[in-house]
Symmetry: C2
Subunit: 210 residues, 2 copies
């Protein structure tokens, strides 16, 4: 499949086959492919919870507008955007710093510059920290969807859930924003996928001001 | 190229060939492929400004940490996340509503439900409106990068810029958040792309709490 094929094949399906499990190795491969997404300063502020257990899916569905696909999909990922992903002492920050030193791309006396640069980008507005974490995590999440398609899986990115309800139910620390839930599985036999919805044209997307 | 090949081929390059232009039809195709990205309620809260003019690139570079790639890349996209993309009366909202009615997926008496559902999702927290717009726009932006790769182009997503400086310089209305700039072009001859940076492993990505 070419990239265009994958983009066209990826659809947000509403009816998953509850009886066809998703292999653990496919979920792992999907995550590993998506993890090649870019992120500012390579901070990779994304994490996932993998929900497979029927009881946990029932608890998740309660906070997700009671949408049947939450329990019908064999796997639901709770996608997490780490808003502390740029903090001094965060394991990913420190690992990046060590790698930059080791590669010679940074000199030790640049640490203050590095700390200030990330702080200024991610705290200049009350929204900036969330926007940063969500942006990079959405790169990763888009990759999860396309990787799933390339592996023959179907997905549905869910926005319809009670953010704080999900966070508390699954004891997700406050540093995380939950940009989406991602249902993963196979299309239910006998269900026909509707034609794609309309999309904005090139001329509707490209703007200028002045 | 398989999807995995595209993911591995996509790299954030630092040195663009300033003498090799990017064809307009390639930019258009890249945008049209990426526009197939999913979005909550199909709201597609993304727009782009296409910066090609050398003078405009010089003005943009001033607000982007003076990074040479901003002027060296033949095309720089200012990626815009529309925080008003769910408002009643917004052209995309109203077009979606009409399409939902026409397809029979929604009955006219569901309008209040639709309006309340989107409002509650996108305003429940002071961060929610930005997070929503940025998440969906980042799906689109990740698609832009992979689409570029599939067309033989190179990209670099830039986070290092003064958000308000760029917004004011290009008269971008306040409803927009600017999640990234995206430089697009070809690798400068003679430049070697360094090996990819480390990525978090599956075990570093997957978490559970409690």
């Amino acid at each position: 499949m070419t990239y265009r094929d994958i983009v066209e094949k990826r659809r947000a399906i509403n009816f998953f086959d509850p009886d066809r499990p998703v292999r653990e190795e496919d979920v792992k491969e999907m995550i590993e492919i998506a993890a090649r997404a870019p992120s500012s300063f390579n901070l990779q502020p994304w994490n996932l919870m993998i929900v497979r257990d029927p009881d946990a899916k029932t608890r998740l569905r309660k906070h997700a507008w009671d949408q049947p696909k939450v329990t019908e999909a064999p796997v639901v990922l709770i996608v997490l955007a780490d808003r502390s992903g740029w903090h001094t002492g965060h394991p990913t920050v420190e690992k990046n710093w060590k790698e930059m030193l080791a590669s010679g791309k940074m000199m030790p006396d640049k640490r203050e510059w590095f700390t200030n640069a990330t702080r200024s980008l991610y705290t200049w507005s009350p929204n900036a920290e969330t926007a940063f974490a969500v942006k990079n995590t959405a790169f990763f999440a888009m990759g999860l969807m396309y990787a799933a398609t390339s592996l023959g899986l179907e997905t549905h990115p869910l926005d319809g859930f009670d953010h704080e309800g999900v966070r508390k139910e699954f004891k997700v620390p406050e540093q995380y924003w939950v940009p989406l839930l991602l249902a993963v599985g196979y299309l239910r036999p006998g269900v026909e996928v509707l034609p794609p919805k309309w999309r904005k044209s090139y001329d509707e997307i490209v703007v200028s001001f002045g």
